[in-house]
């Protein structure tokens, strides 16, 4: 057990956990930020995607000991009122079915658009390939990403 002071969604938070604990479980169980989801635990599904210094990472593969003072953003901290352009586009296109994968999809999409405000189909597919949607909302996800890309451009 060790004590860590983490920078999560712009706030300092302290946890006492085993150093090997992945950020996924630190967020979900120690900080009760459960928007970040468990899907596979081996970096294959993307349900656990968060931002580390603005870059999309799989939190199931990120031990708390590796985080230090880096900025962690989870879905709960993506925007103040759920009004990030990607979140708004998701609602506009009404993307979710079961919804379980969507926090991870949104975090991947937001990181993509930050680096590439106007991605083409292949770029979207590439950036999103690590996020599985078992319900098959891929067509809508792509549509929402394009919509978010347009609305943040305008």
């Amino acid at each position: 057990m060790a004590t860590y002071t983490l920078n999560i969604n712009g706030k300092e938070m302290q946890v006492e956990v085993d150093p090997s604990t992945p950020m996924l479980w630190v967020l979900r169980e120690h900080l009760q930020l459960v928007g970040t989801k468990y899907g596979c635990g081996i970096a294959q599904c993307g349900a656990c995607t968060i931002h580390l210094n603005g870059v999309a990472v799989r939190s199931c593969q990120l031990p708390v000991s590796a985080v230090g003072s880096q900025e962690v953003t989870s879905i709960e901290g993506l925007s103040e009122n759920g009004d990030h352009p990607v979140q708004k586009a998701w609602l506009e296109v009404d993307v979710p079915q079961c919804g379980y994968c969507q926090a991870g999809q949104i975090m991947s999409a937001a990181a993509l658009l930050k680096n590439n405000p106007n991605p083409g189909d292949a770029e979207i597919e590439g950036a999103m390939s690590g996020n599985i949607c078992r319900c098959g909302t891929y067509v809508r996800i792509k549509k929402a990403i394009k919509l978010a890309s347009q609305s943040s451009a305008s």
């Binding site: 169980e29 009760q32 468990y38 081996i42 009122n81 078992r134 098959g136 909302t137 891929y138 067509v139």
Partner: protein
């Protein structure tokens, strides 16, 4: 005008004027347990509200809360079922709050997510709940204004009396309405008057989903809750011999290690009381990560299990399910199935004289199709919360069959049913996996044993290797043609492990003079169950791919051939129990023909068509493929659906898109194989699911507008797409694809 007696729906009306007031919260409240939930700004119920019936409460300011009775697995019932109530209540949808109803079988009908039945079974009670409440509000206004009730109109949450110019909001009359007797009869709206049904409304949980608020079973927690994880035998056909938990128990955060047995020996099991493994080792600790580590430190000896026979009741039919001993492998399964399929099967249906027709045929086409076991792989793995004390059992989590699982949990706990309560969470997918509530019973048994609130969590590996899988199937089709290329006989022989996929009375039965359908089964100790559109999810693709070959051999357009056969089935049907309406079947084919621009294909686009009827709905699809650097890419899917009245068109379209993507994915990539009883794919590194780049670029969905009462939609768009895909692949590559997964399991790792 449809005047409908309310008597059959009476049990839902538990009227109680004493229920006014804000103190009573009938839905369960996440806020009690999750302090950090961000505030969602939106509609709220006022302090004073009145429960008109089990489905709805009206606040004194006119805000309405509608209870959504059924489990939500992503099929959108939490939005579309309340829309039906709101329609008949005639209220502004913007003034509606939706809550998940509790499990209350005395008040609600069919609280099950299965068989694409939620809307179909809810159609009448939901409309009745809204319409009777509307009538009671009208009666309350009539009393207050001393005018005949027939002169009162209700619309968009307002009551009006034209002659006197009086008007009031529903909220003003709600307190009086609870004292009005439930009307004996109500007039239901005509579809042409609908203002909410048939208009697209956004997912009521949308905002919570995109902001990551707690919604799912895995998100649920209570103070003092412990985490339990199961360890099950590494192979089907094995069971526990002994274990040593000394090391595991010494690990940080670990509270205990013990075993549990699932169902009581004499418990009369129902159709969904499957056990995957009867005895499990349970590791209990403070956090999921700690318990995951401790699982690895267990030393367990397993041994071979003997033959098992389980008595079950399949909706009143007693059945003995046999699980023979042994360690099964996919290679042996294949041989067994081929061997059995080469012998005569059990004749399920026979019309005319198929033997003679085949003997006299000028040409016989024979093709064999197969598919592997599949795991459901809901994105949210199996889990359940249980807090069992001496006098009550509180069970919370994702379950498609709460009303059928409660008795199983009660029996296991030795508690009367009324002391056991299941609360439904939004589910991270169902697909049939969560029809089987063994994990609910497991969670309950664990909590009872340790006397603490417990959340049982399966890892992805547990989930994938302890499933209720889609069975593996095999089917051989034969068609006889005469010298003029007329279809004279049709023969299907199908089977699987452990069940047959055959639907002997479905199309093309009824359209061919000489018809034979046979089946066979092979027992297994691998646990299987319903998977989105059970049996149809294989046989549709096989049959529709075969018809494509038959059309080609006959020199006919594949849509024309189907329409001709359906014409025959309509005008001069063969046999009596044909399980489809030929007209509606032909209707979706004609619609997809028009919408896809069938016959106008050109250039590098390769098209396949398919149509199927299951779960009371008809679906036809045209799939367009292009080859990009030697790889097939689905450019477009055009889909026509007849599921009667569509409640929420955009959400229905989303569900159909999902079914199509799901079908393409499973047919192309997915398979679960066994070696000596061991599941060979235990996580997404080995088990291939469809990913972004493999999904169709465009999907357009068209609904037949016929005003018929709604039927199913969760399942019907899924099975036929596999046939359309196989047929388009043939056009693109010149090769017929008979064995799923068509692209093999290439085990490509997509780097995340």
């Amino acid at each position: 005008m449809a005047l409908v007696k309310t008597s059959m729906g009476r049990r839902m009306f538990i009227q109680s004027s004493a229920l006014a007031g804000g103190g009573l919260v009938l839905g369960f409240n996440w806020l009690a347990s999750c302090k950090r939930e961000p505030e969602v700004v939106g509609l709220q119920m006022p302090k004073e509200w009145y429960e008109i019936n089990a489905y709805l409460k009206i606040g004194d300011n006119g805000v309405v809360t509608i209870m959504s009775p059924n489990p939500e697995i992503g099929q959108n019932v939490k939005t579309s079922m309340p829309m039906i109530v709101a329609e008949e209540l005639d209220v502004d949808w913007n003034n509606v709050i939706v809550e998940q109803a509790p499990l209350k079988t005395e008040a609600f009908t069919w609280q099950v997510a299965g068989g694409s039945q939620s809307i179909r079974n809810g159609w009448e009670p939901l409309r009745m709940a809204g319409a009777t409440a509307r009538e009671m509000l009208k009666a309350a206004a009539a009393q207050a204004w001393q005018v005949p009730v027939t002169e009162i109109t209700a619309a968009a949450g307002m009551l009006k009396h034209e002659a006197s110019g009086k008007s009031a909001g529903y909220g003003e009359m709600a307190s009086a309405a609870v004292n009005i007797p439930v009307p004996e009869e109500v007039v239901l709206k005509e579809p042409k008057d609908y203002k909410i049904i048939g208009t697209s409304r956004k997912n009521v949980d949308g905002k919570k989903i995109v902001t990551g608020q707690p919604l799912y079973g895995l998100d649920y927690r209570q103070e003092g809750m412990l985490i339990a994880m199961p360890v099950h035998p590494p192979a089907f056909g094995m069971k526990l011999k002994s274990y040593d938990a000394t090391d595991a128990k010494a690990m940080p955060g670990i509270k205990d290690v013990f075993t549990i047995n699932l169902y009581n020996e004499n418990f009369p099991r129902g159709a969904f009381d499957h056990s995957v493994f009867d005895e499990l080792v349970i590791v209990l600790g403070n956090t999921t990560w700690e318990v995951m580590q401790a699982k690895k430190a267990l030393k367990i000896e397993w041994e071979k299990a003997g033959d098992v026979a389980v008595d079950m009741q399949f909706f009143g039919n007693p059945t003995t399910v046999k699980h023979p001993s042994g360690l099964e492998s996919s290679s042996a399964h294949k041989e067994q199935m081929e061997q059995l399929n080469s012998r005569p099967g059990k004749v399920v249906r026979k019309d005319g004289n198929p033997e003679a027709a085949f003997r006299n045929a000028a040409k016989v086409i024979e093709r064999t199709y197969s598919c592997p076991f599949l795991a459901h792989n809901t994105m949210e793995p199996m889990n359940f919360f249980a807090n069992v004390t001496a006098d009550k059992a509180e069970l919370v989590g994702p379950i498609q069959t709460p009303e059928w699982t409660e008795p199983a949990a009660a029996a296991r706990l030795g508690m009367p049913l009324e002391k056991v309560d299941i609360m439904m969470t939004r589910m991270g997918g169902g697909f049939g996996r969560r029809l089987y509530g063994h994990f609910v019973v497991e969670a309950a048994a664990i909590s009872q044993k340790v006397g603490a609130p417990v959340k049982l969590v399966y890892t992805r590996e547990d989930d994938m290797s302890q499933g209720t899988y889609r069975p593996t199937y095999l089917a051989t089709y034969r068609a006889a043609l005469d010298e003029n290329n007329n279809l004279t006989a049709f023969h299907v022989k199908a089977g699987g492990i452990p069940e047959s996929p055959l639907f002997a009375n479905r199309f093309p039965a009824g359209s061919v003079d000489n018809y034979l359908a046979e089946d066979w089964t092979i027992d297994s100790n691998i646990s299987t169950g319903a998977f989105r559109a059970p049996r149809s999810n294989f046989i549709a693709g096989a049959e529709q791919a075969f018809l494509d070959e038959v059309a080609e051999a006959m020199g006919k357009d594949p849509i024309d051939l189907r329409l001709e056969l359906l014409d025959r089935a309509k005008n001069n049907p063969v046999g009596e129990d044909n399980d489809y309406e030929a007209d509606r079947y032909a209707g979706v084919l004609k619609l997809v023909k028009e919408k896809s621009g069938w016959g106008q294909e050109q250039g590098n686009v390769h098209r396949g068509v398919s149509a199927y009827f299951c779960h009371n709905s008809y679906v036809a699809q045209v799939l367009d493929l292009v080859m990009e650097s030697g790889q097939p890419k689905v450019e477009r899917v055009c889909c026509a659906i007849d599921c009667g009245i569509v409640i929420n068109p955009d959400a229905a379209t989303n569900l159909a898109e999902g079914g199509i993507v799901d079908g393409i994915g499973h047919a192309m990539f997915s398979e679960l194989t066994f070696a000596d009883g061991v599941v060979q794919q235990q996580n997404f590194d080995k088990y291939r699911l469809i990913r972004h780049s493999e999904a169709p670029k465009n999907i357009d969905v068209h609904f037949v507008d016929n005003g018929i009462d709604p039927t199913g939609l969760g399942e019907p768009p899924f099975p036929p797409i596999m046939g359309a895909l196989a047929n388009a692949l043939y056009k693109a590559t010149g090769t017929r694809y008979y064995d799923q997964p068509f692209m093999g399991n290439k085990q490509q790792r997509v780097i995340g």
